[in-house]
Amino acid sequence: MSLEITLFVIFALAAAVSAVMVVTRSNPVIAALFLVVNFGSLAGLFLTLHAQFIAVTEIIVYAGAIMVLFLFVIMLIKPENEQKFLAVNKKIKLTAVFLAALILVQIAYIILFANPSARLNPDLNASVQAGTIESIGTLIFTKYILPFEAAGYLLLAATIGALVLAKKKFE
């Protein structure tokens, strides 16, 4: 039990510190690096919850694919242009602060009033079973087939949109 708590504290601290670093670094590449660290510690937290598949997916999809594409874009822009843009458009900063506050209130409401931990299953074996790839696959293709397919169509639409936008520039 104590090992679990130690691991939780380490990963949670790493996640919190790296999240703060992401928003405070002025260099976007360094911020992206801390976001990767954050994903890594989140994956560790998922592991302590016996959600192995979600932990590995977090690394493969977010740290391994999405952040690489982010970096790809970040490396090609000049950070000075970004600062100039922010200096001219002061309203964007205010909007960002407002949106962040809104999300904070939402999360605080969920944690304080909806009480998600009340629905936890105390049975350890059941929670280990729920984290395996078999049970997640079964759930995705039976109970959650509609949202799963809808997400698929959403991604397809985004892919076609990207293709159309990229093609226009070449023609």
Binding site: V29, L33, V36, V56, I60, G64, V68, F72, M75
Partner: protein, 343 residues
Amino acid sequence: MGILELAIITIVKILIVLTLVLLTVAYLVYFERKISAWIQNRIGPNRVGYLGLLQPFADVLKLLLKEDIVPTVSNHPLHALAPMIALFVAFSTYAVIPMGPTITLFGWQIPLAVADINMGILYVLAITSLGVYAITFAGWSSGSKYSLLGGIRSSAQMISYEISMGFSVGGVVLLASSLRPIAIVEAQSGLMWNAFIQPIGFITFLVAAFAETNRLPFDLPEAEPELVGGYHTEYSSMKFAAFFLAEYANMIISSALIVTLYLGGWQIPFIERLNLPVGLTVALQVGAFCFKLAVLLFFFIWVRWSIPRFRYDQLMSLGWKVMFPLSLLNIIWVAILIMVFKI
């Protein structure tokens, strides 16, 4: 087995595997130079020790003693971090590769893999997908246009080929109906090797492995005629050696993965019919794993010195227009095998 015994066994296994990998890397470099010499009708290294066999140690010593030059325009922390990421990724993937069957030693059941986890294959994919950061950060933090171009090329290349690699693994996982490397090896008993059952997946995985390790014909991130040294242009001394080490370690991990997924792992077909003693069987099986690994490593080196480099657009169209559809085709083929022929 208590937690203390488990920890001791695991640490011993980690030490053995790390030593083996480092020694293999050292001699892989030696054989790369020897084989390239044979292919180009030269003699190759033959001065240090008998037949030049001590050459790798002389090389390492030389790299250690060199001055470490860091460009003033570089981003210093990231510049130092990049080779560390490369080494971390290269070494931590070995954890799940099974080198032999489970053995009984001093009354303990010991699987011959550092960690036998049921997400093994996904773990390898996850860790290798982090490898791109090493090259990208190295390219960006050096503050040189050659390095940056190398880093960008590499991130695009690795993402493109990761997709066909993942889908090829999908076929293997479908057949074995498990993500555990040991279960995947056991599913290939006899001559049911995945290389024979799903040859298309084998080829797409092999090509993707070449692209992921940045080896010729896909070594665009460090193409010498265009980019000087690519992402490691601005690296010297031990940091350069770290990238060098990581490249060869990645080559070994790719070969080990191909052996595990497609060439039956440590299995020798029909060895159980010979009724050999258990100890000898296990030794032969570990030997078989090493032999298959060596053949694949020779293949990697052979290809490097025989095939010219691709152009960048050729690399991308091969990845997206040929390898990706082929790996999807392989999944359909495996699904047909399972549904219709009930393999």
